[in-house]
Subunit: 336 residues, 2 copies
């Protein structure tokens, strides 16, 4: 098996810099859009054959070092008796934000209701020659969707909830932590060699609030995935990097805002994943290559570096441009 | 005149910590909501009598150390032949995002078209016993609205535009800089003793992109307001603080994510404004006071500190709670 992603994550020597992309399966691929003419996004997630097919699509076009399970952050809600839908160009929307009472009374995960996820993992493992990255949302980020009811810029209802209903928050976060731990563990047991925990919106919190409201629950979920390579990803988190070094994770994923070497210094011995601005892929090809080279070089100075974007692939991205980037990273990252 | 805000901004001794709030005039005030039953937000901005009335409303309820001109970030667009409307709960929306051609061809500001703004400033100066803070959006943040067409979480079209059309970007930013400089200068000449430049969304950029795409234009606008106390405000900017120390501004305003002492250290001799999370006002009153005290204490360690929220007052805020906070800050900040 092609294992350079796992080796880099563990700080072991690699032949070249491993690379994969967040949202490497998705709307920018014409073959994905063709499937979407017949199926909704959630239909694709729910059917193991279709989810596996979408997961594999980018691997037929580009030489990435991992597949990432095609799914949605809020899928586990189906195992908690909650419904949501996905609005095109906007993201997941709930019928209404959860009340404090509803938040405090969230039920235990019914894994049966989402068994199609570990099934998809098994299916993929039987055909893949490289690692499969499973994934889940981190408790804070999933809670933010529940409390806001829809995507938000800086999640004011969620921040207010922490301070207005601290007891309900602890109950919600604790239940989400155990549910997401179960959900992630099921993926690892089904064969995912790595998992990425998306804490996309945690950067709206101060370090103080991160410590009391987020960290204990995050640790619980990460610990449940022990044995797999764990990647913890957050955006807009320059002020939280110093907090991440103590998390039980092998890799810290960062966005394009932060300096990769600085992230490596603050993550203190963990591997680092990132961090090309996905918007760069829409610009001048030569400038893109120069920026990618710069990131590859910075990555040589950290304990382990996995090349990725700073956030998901943008829908306007040219797939050929992305495939060329993979080859460029592999070439520039070669160890001699 | 009550001048402790100006004194703190210049690093001069003060009797106590000055305090005002972003969006201290607005939807959380019942008297404002009553006006909004008869007038749209933009109608209120456009009429000097009404805009002055709204500006003064919070001063009748709380002992803040400054008034902030009631207006909207995109008002100067009316002097550039562009239209927008404001969607309730969403923010300003343009008919369509600007094309590269439109962006590169933005006209010079017709100050006549927005003369109601300096008129409002004059009106306010004739009745105020404390400083008036004028304001404008910074070039990047105004450009982001133009290029995205609507509020966004991390402004991907704008980031892509920088890299896809660097020449059009420079033309757009350069024209916006000279237009916003004119607009801000008119407020200073009309009597605003301080101005705040809102660069609310610049935190989506890396330091590298900030340097080439933002800094020169920002400097141009700030220089135009020389003579007034200048406050440069950005959110989510922990990774950019080191860049701000070289800006021609007396004060750097920061949000709740960053540590105020760290901001003071990085701003290196500038005064610092901030940074209570507005969501705290919706929580337990005792915890709120403790957090406010902590921030006041941190502020004593920086060159000059102006107490503020880390972003605008949230609509659910109780005005009495806010008025109590002002008194609390003044009491805790007293110099002996």
């Amino acid at each position: 098996m092609r294992d350079r992603l796992l080796r880099a994550a563990l700080g072991q020597p690699v032949d070249t810099t491993p690379v994969w992309f967040m949202r490497q399966a998705g709307r920018y691929l014409p073959e994905y859009r063709r499937l979407r003419e017949r199926y909704s996004l959630l239909d694709l997630c729910r059917d193991p054959e279709l989810a596996a097919e979408v997961t594999l699509q980018p691997l037929r076009r580009m030489d990435v070092d991992a597949a990432i399970l095609f799914s949605d952050l809020l899928i586990p809600l189906w195992g908690m008796g909650l419904q949501f839908h996905v609005e095109e160009g906007r993201g997941p929307v709930l019928p209404a934000p959860l009340s404090a009472e509803e938040a405090a009374g969230l039920p235990e995960l019914d894994l049966q209701a989402v068994e199609f996820v570990p099934k998809t993992v098994q299916l993929l493992r039987s055909v893949l020659d490289r690692p499969l990255v499973g994934f889940a949302g981190a408790p804070f980020t999933v809670a933010a969707y529940l409390l806001e009811g829809r995507p938000s810029r800086d999640w004011p209802r969620t921040r207010a909830f922490l301070h207005r209903y601290p007891d309900a928050w602890h109950r919600l976060a604790s239940r989400l932590a155990s549910n997401l731990a179960t959900y992630l563990k099921a993926q690892v047991q089904a064969g995912a060699q790595a998992v990425q925990l998306f804490d996309s919106w945690v950067g709206v919190l101060s370090a103080g609030d991160f410590r009391w409201a987020v960290r204990p629950y995050l640790v619980q979920v990460l610990q449940a995935a022990e044995g797999a390579v764990r990647i913890y990803f957050a955006t807009g988190c320059a002020h939280l990097l110093g907090e991440f070094r103590h998390l039980p994770t092998e890799v810290v994923g960062v966005d394009w805002r932060v300096d990769l070497r600085e992230a490596g210094r603050l993550a203190d011995g963990k591997a680092v994943q990132g961090n090309l601005d996905p918007a760069r892929l829409l610009g001048d090809p030569q400038a893109l290559r120069a920026e990618a080279s710069r990131i590859v070089e910075q990555g040589r100075a950290v304990r382990g570096h996995i090349f990725n974007l700073g956030h998901g692939v943008l829908p306007d991205t040219d797939p050929d441009r992305l495939a060329e980037l993979v080859d460029w990273v592999h070439e520039r990252g070669r160890r001699t």
